[in-house]
């Protein structure tokens, strides 16, 4: 896509909502796909729709990382442990085959029943989980495997041991590791993209969100309890910080939206996996044509440009 076309699109995106033009942010997805998504944006997302995404993103029947892995990948081999201390079950990592190409995959993993939820710690990782992720990223880089990450966490675990083991540093270093990679990377928020715990594995060439996923700096409840001093105001908070996919696309934070089956991914896991697989294959095919150092340069430039500024 030409620079002019990108800028034109950016203009139109900005006009649609009155959002200020994002300084220098480049849209990396191709024009046609974004134009289709502009149609979606034109019908401005309502507060009700935002809250529906919050509910669907957390739906107990929503497919989790391993549900997608078993439907999308052939010959999945799961890797365990951070090679230092333990195996964190809130993060799964491994290698497998996607359309004949070996990829590395890292994802948060929530539990389906009470017992598994405890084992998976509700998808809230310890630093060990992010170190397992980093180890897998490094493996991908060494062997030239594209990296796919699936983001689905309420946040990194806020626990005593998690702090003692260096939660903040692990999240920072995991982002640094993703920015160093010279292989194609695609991150997809498949449920909850909760703050630092999410961005730790979401610094990718292409960042996508499923239609009803949410991506936010804080949970609606957390935001409500701090700013409104009342967690029950979560719905109001969500309307204020707009964690839904349409708004994240509009702000230039994600590169595309992956459609879900009618009514949400929880209704038909197989159909959701087909749609996700299609998106992954399409993006990986595009990225495969880009030189390794150029991938890294563009990835760094994309995140460098994030934000909206004013001048005095």
């Amino acid at each position: 896509m030409s620079q002019e076309a990108e800028l034109g699109l950016r203009d139109r995106l900005a006009q649609l909502s009155g959002v200020k033009l994002l300084r220098g942010t480049k849209l990396s997805a191709e024009l046609e796909r974004l134009q289709r998504q502009l149609e979606r944006l034109r019908q401005d997302t309502t507060d009700e729709e935002i809250w529906r995404s919050v509910e669907l993103a957390r739906h107990e029947k929503r497919p989790y990382t391993l549900d997608y892995v078993e439907r999308m990948l052939d010959d999945w081999f799961e890797l365990h442990g951070d090679r230092a201390r333990m195996d964190d079950h809130a993060v799964v990592a491994g290698i497998g085959s996607l359309g004949g190409r070996t990829i590395a995959l890292v994802g948060h993993q929530k539990g389906r029943d009470l017992k598994e939820r405890a084992t998976r710690n509700f998808g809230m990782a310890y630093p060990e989980g992010y170190r397992k992720a980093m180890r897998t990223m490094e493996l991908a880089g060494r062997h030239g495997f594209p990296l796919v990450t699936l983001v689905d966490t309420p946040g990194a675990y806020p626990g005593i041991a998690a702090e003692q083991h260096g939660q903040g540093g692990a999240i920072a270093r995991s982002q640094a590791a993703m920015l160093r990679l010279e292989v194609p990377t695609v991150a997809v928020v498949i449920g909850e993209g909760g703050s630092g715990g999410a961005i730790a594995i979401a610094v990718a060439d292409r960042v996508l969100m499923q239609e009803h996923a949410i991506y936010s700096v804080i949970s609606p409840e957390g935001c409500a309890s701090i700013l409104w001093r009342d967690a029950a105001q979560a719905k109001k908070a969500a309307s204020a910080f707009k964690p839904d996919a349409a708004h994240c696309l509009e702000l230039g934070v994600i590169d595309g939206i992956v459609p879900e089956p009618e009514g949400g991914a929880q209704i038909d896991h197989d159909a959701a996996a087909v749609l996700l697989r299609e998106a992954l294959v399409a993006h990986l095919d595009e990225l495969a044509a880009v030189a390794a150092d150029e991938l890294r340069r563009r990835r760094r430039a994309k995140f460098r440009a994030m934000g909206v500024l004013a001048h005095v």
Binding site: N121, P158, E163, G169, A176, I199, L227, M306, G307, V308
Partner: protein
């Protein structure tokens, strides 16, 4: 003993049974009254002692301009990117509009945002400095903090020089929503570019350094120093206590605890900070 608990979690390494550290600064006393020993000081007395209690050694918070004055050679500091201001991309409104909070913060602090950046010299070693100010909206990181920090990295990288960051932050700025979260990879990437260019980041963690700042640039220093008693954690003690319903260690998240667990290279009293940074600048040869 550390290990996997019955619940399948990995928690509980060390248990202490003392007071909740989140209470330690509570009470909202006079800003010049020491929360630890109760001594009270005139403003000029505290300033003369670098805002460290002469009686008990408690480190009071330091605002960005005063921090720079404590560390920099007199007359060497030149602010950069001072014209940058926050926009309001979400038209965020909680109990009051974000733009109003910004205006109040600027009036109250005289700063354009929660970080002050520029060029300076420490004991003759030229360097860049980025000092955060907790009194500007809790030192929260939005687009401007991210941008100023990233530009400071880039300027330091141009001559393979040094950037000294002094962080004091509650984390990402909620009012900028997901764009605030994006300042994490932005600053992480900027540190990477600085370090790839042969430059050095000296990260000083002041009280408090939490949330998104801990989860990004503040944790990536070539050398990481912390002030005594500074809370430097990802999650704050209140959140951890509420989530885990466990008794927190009395030194939870504090600089001394982070030193013990290997996340900090040294806990440096404020009176020694300037000399320590000067030594490091000399050792890294970043003063060329």
């Amino acid at each position: 003993m550390p290990g996997v608990s019955a619940a399948g979690n990995i928690d509980v390494s060390i248990e202490h049974k003392k007071s909740d550290p989140s209470e330690r600064d509570g009470g909202g006393g006079h800003p010049n009254t020491c929360p630890r020993c109760g001594s009270h000081y005139r403003d000029d007395e505290l300033a003369e002692h670098l805002r460290v209690c002469p009686h008990c050694g408690h480190h009071f918070p330091v605002k960005a301009h005063e921090r720079v004055a404590q560390l920099a050679d007199p007359g060497t500091f030149e602010e950069e990117d001072g014209d940058l201001r926050s926009a309001d991309p979400l038209e965020f409104f909680d109990l009051k509009p974000y733009v109003e909070r910004l205006a109040e913060a600027e009036l109250g602090t005289g700063l354009g945002d929660a970080i002050l950046t520029g060029r300076t010299a420490i004991e003759g070693h030229p360097c860049r400095i980025a000092a955060m100010d907790f009194s500007f909206m809790g030192g929260s990181m939005g687009s401007v903090v991210g941008e100023r920090f990233a530009r400071a990295c880039e300027r330091a990288a141009e001559d393979a020089g040094a950037l000294i960051s002094v962080s004091a932050s509650g984390g990402a700025r909620m009012q900028e929503g997901i764009l605030a979260l994006m300042q994490l990879p932005k600053t992480v990437g900027a540190v990477g570019e600085l370090q790839d260019a042969g430059g050095v980041l000296l990260s000083v963690l002041a009280h408090p350094t939490t949330g998104g700042v801990t989860a990004s640039f503040a944790s990536l220093g070539d050398v990481t120093l912390a002030e005594p008693g500074a809370l430097t954690s990802f999650a704050g003690p209140r959140v951890v206590a509420q989530t885990t319903r466990e008794k927190l260690p009395d030194d939870f998240g504090l600089a001394e605890s982070n030193f013990r667990f290997g996340h900090v290279d040294a806990v440096v009293p404020r009176a020694e900070l300037r000399a320590t940074l000067s030594r490091l600048l000399r050792l890294f040869g970043a003063s060329r």
